[in-house]
């Protein structure tokens, strides 16, 4: 049986953080296709204009220019076509209000970006375990 890999959309404005996710994918031997948007506005455009196949998973930063992660989440949760996408927040913000806002908008997980790349590889491995279930 050929496994159907889910598409993933990463919404992240920092170049190094994008490279970090890509590296962590390679390290974990993750072959899923990864699309990148630099902020919430760009991500919405990509999702609504069918530039990319509809992803099942979104990895979302919170502090971004133009439209931040929480604003983006609110919009997709009200959109019939997008509201069922699993969203993982990945951020440096340890602020309670951000966590509460995110969970109120039904996120599948809230990941604090760790300082070390080794720990980040482990976080991504955990994510991989989750979306592997979506692929079955």
């Amino acid at each position: 049986m050929i496994q159907k890999l889910v598409n993933i959309l990463l919404v992240e404005d920092d170049e190094v953080d994008v490279m970090n996710v890509k590296r962590a994918f390679t390290k974990n031997n993750i072959k899923n296709e990864l699309f990148v948007a630099g902020n919430g506005v760009e991500a919405l455009d990509m999702l609504r204009s069918s530039i990319i196949p509809l992803p099942r998973i979104i990895i979302l930063d919170i502090n971004m220019p133009k439209m931040n992660g929480i604003e983006f989440l609110k919009i997709i949760r009200e959109d019939e076509n997008l509201k069922n996408i699993s969203v993982f927040v990945m951020t440096t913000s340890n602020e309670d209000s951000d966590k509460i806002n995110a969970y109120n908008l039904n996120v599948a997980g809230y990941i604090l970006k760790p300082l070390s790349f080794e720990k980040f590889i482990n976080s991504v491995a955990t994510l991989k375990n989750f979306w592997s279930l979506c692929e079955m």
């Binding site: 190094v16 440096t92 340890n94 070390s116």
Partner: protein, 242 residues
Amino acid sequence: MTESAQKCQEELSALKKEYEDFVYIVSHDIKTPMRAIANIATWIEDDLGPDINIDILNNFSLLKNRVARLENMLNALLELSRINRTEMEEYEVNIPKLVKECMATLDNKTNVKFHENYNLYNENCITLGKKLNKVIFNLLDNAVRFHDKQIKNVFIDISENETEYQIKISDDGPGIAEEVRQKIFSIFYTVNSKDVLDSTGAGLTISSKIVAMVGGAIQYTPSVNNGSIFQINWPKIISVKN
């Protein structure tokens, strides 16, 4: 209150708010490039492959260690700036149980002997539980972390009077030299070089700020066995001082 006194009060509150916001924003925005330094160092190390020169390897680990220190310092600054903004719920705590929880969460308890002594009419009290936990945890953590003996004795004595709890945390460790005693509550101050014992130097600063906020007092005295005694007066009725 006179009009000018009230105006001063308002300005003071506004300044405090501005300071807290400043520290918070700065700490957060600094974290992204800081994490980038740590990450890119790891990538380069990784890309150099397995035959990497030992000196280079050591320098990479130094670089990452110092960035980690920077992160600890930033986290401590963040925590300080948020002391009277977060975890401000009063709820019922059982004092001996809270102490037990603090002990359980200590990193390294090898060869540590805890001696608890409670002299309380009522073990339960309604207080800022998270804050009390933080203070007791920090003092226990210091007592253990900086202890220099094979067997580490740590003493916890808690008693009460009508208005406050008297919490005494002491040890038979190295104590603190007289000439540096007035510095121990300063942010990032460590008695030993950070290369000897990697610590951030924020625990006592955070603890003393919490104690001041609840209207209590914290005091250091040397013990007869050369160890340290930290005495805290924690009021039963808390009126938060901003």
